[in-house]
Amino acid sequence: MDLERLSPYLPWAGLAVALLVPPLSSGSLYVLTTATIAVVFMIYASAWNFLAASGQGSLGHAAFFGLGAYASALTASNFGLPPVLTVLLGGLFAAGIGLLIGLTCVRLKEWFLAMVTFGFAIIIQTLMVSQFAGISGGWDGTAAPALVPSTVPFAPWVQYYLILAVLVGVLLAFRHLLAGRIGLAFAAIRENEVEARASGIDPVRYKLLAFCISACVAGIAGALEIHQFGYVTPEVFGTDISFWPIIYSISGGLGTLAGPIVGTLAVTLLWEGLRGLELTYARFVLIGLLLVLVVIFLPNGLVSLPRRLREWRRGRGGARE
């Protein structure tokens, strides 16, 4: 099969399939909900992956996911603004905090950065339930108005399409950014910061930019999720929420646009499929194993699988000749 020739049509085909999910779900709210949550996490994982493209790996993205969620829920319920609007406010708020956190992080390398981002998620959760409990509702959490009011006909479907539209928008924006000067600068910084600086790229500026954009999109994803849930609690800052986008992005393909999408899809299907087998801990063991195996044997993720297979086949064929 000649993938190269088909490639211009592929994103459209993917979009078409995604658009078809609700009609194909034959009225199953479960399929629709699972797809909605998956799309939210695709947005979130893409945001994480965008930061990783600049060479920065965050272990605490739940901080931005949760801040966006809280900012949006609180403005929506306190000022009566429509959630469609407050989601963007949530993103902006997360971006603002992202800028502040980014300022402390830009000079840090790998594990220092990993530790500090992880720490920020914990600090923000602690602040939310102690110092800011009066605003945030503390551990009890706070209500978040529905993204699409239930008076709208087919509300869950409309909501799904809305979230899907956000994903498409985010992907287009990321594609545009990464294809341009920013993408080149990110790649240069990722490969070698000193050389990047020598060639006139200001790493601090670009790293901060990555932090801001990534935090903003993660905040939007968080806001979308909790408006769909109808409620937000401090659990939104949990370690698992920080780790899922990493699992999705790594298994899909680090630093690629399609990676988080493919990864989220593959892991969600695996996860839901294993549920049928009544596996409990074994599911997590398998996810852990998948991650370890991908890192070791498929460092570019599942998206590189066809290429790897082709290389492998060609390599074997060549050996035979």
Binding site: L59, F284, G288, L291, V295
Partner: protein, 293 residues
Amino acid sequence: MTLDPGTLLQILFWGLYAGCIYILLATGVNLIFGVMKTVNFAHGELLMIGAYVTWSLFVLTGVNPYLLLVATVPVLLALGVAVERLAFRPVLGSNKLNEIFLSIGLIYLFQNGAALLWGDDYQSLRSPFEAISVPIADFRLPLDYLIIIGVTVAVLVGLQLLLRRTRLGLALRATSQNRKAAMLSGIDVERMDMLAFGLGAALAGAAGTLWAVSGQVFDPYMGSVPAIKAFAIVILGGLGSIPGAILGGLFYGLAESTATYTLGGAWKDAISFVLLIIVLVIRPTGLFGERGE
């Protein structure tokens, strides 16, 4: 807040005791980093497995759990060697981020593997000396804590002897200082990697035994928080510096204990990161860190 000297003394003592567990973890992390220049974020899971191994052996044999150190440490040593050989070696030298992601996979693997194997209910075991306490000043000091502090000191002294007085230790230190030069002078650096990782795991295993014996409960998910704190200590004390880890561990145990007392228990975890971030903002490579890598 009134603070009488007796209470203060007691709080400092709990800090010292907590510091012992952290020191063992942090020393292991540092040993691994020194030789391999890599950080295993799943280090806390080795602590958890150490506690479970001790507990299983205790349930099976009923032997004094302190003696089970002799059995737990080799088991963890072997596990560490296996993890290095099977998981870390293939990604070593590739992107540093890969090592972080690999550890996250290992965290899931170990935690849930342990839950499958041992169940996810918490467990605990009782020290044979739990009823004995030593009166010091005006409070009763349980004998167990004195033994734990003693064991930690003994383990650290043993490690120092290994590193300073044996050929193997010399090779380890050489690899740690300059990997290429070590390789050129005929040291099998890959064997050193395995050894360092094994020793690091063994130290975590010893910490696991002490954790269990001190009457603290453990479950499959208990490792992540202490490990994160161990990393914070390592970063405070400087990557690759073992004395730094010891000082950092002590300082950290005391700081945490005082923070719990003054700010409240809700801040117990968060305070470590506040400290860490302050230090890193001032010095991006840690308090005693080496410049660059």
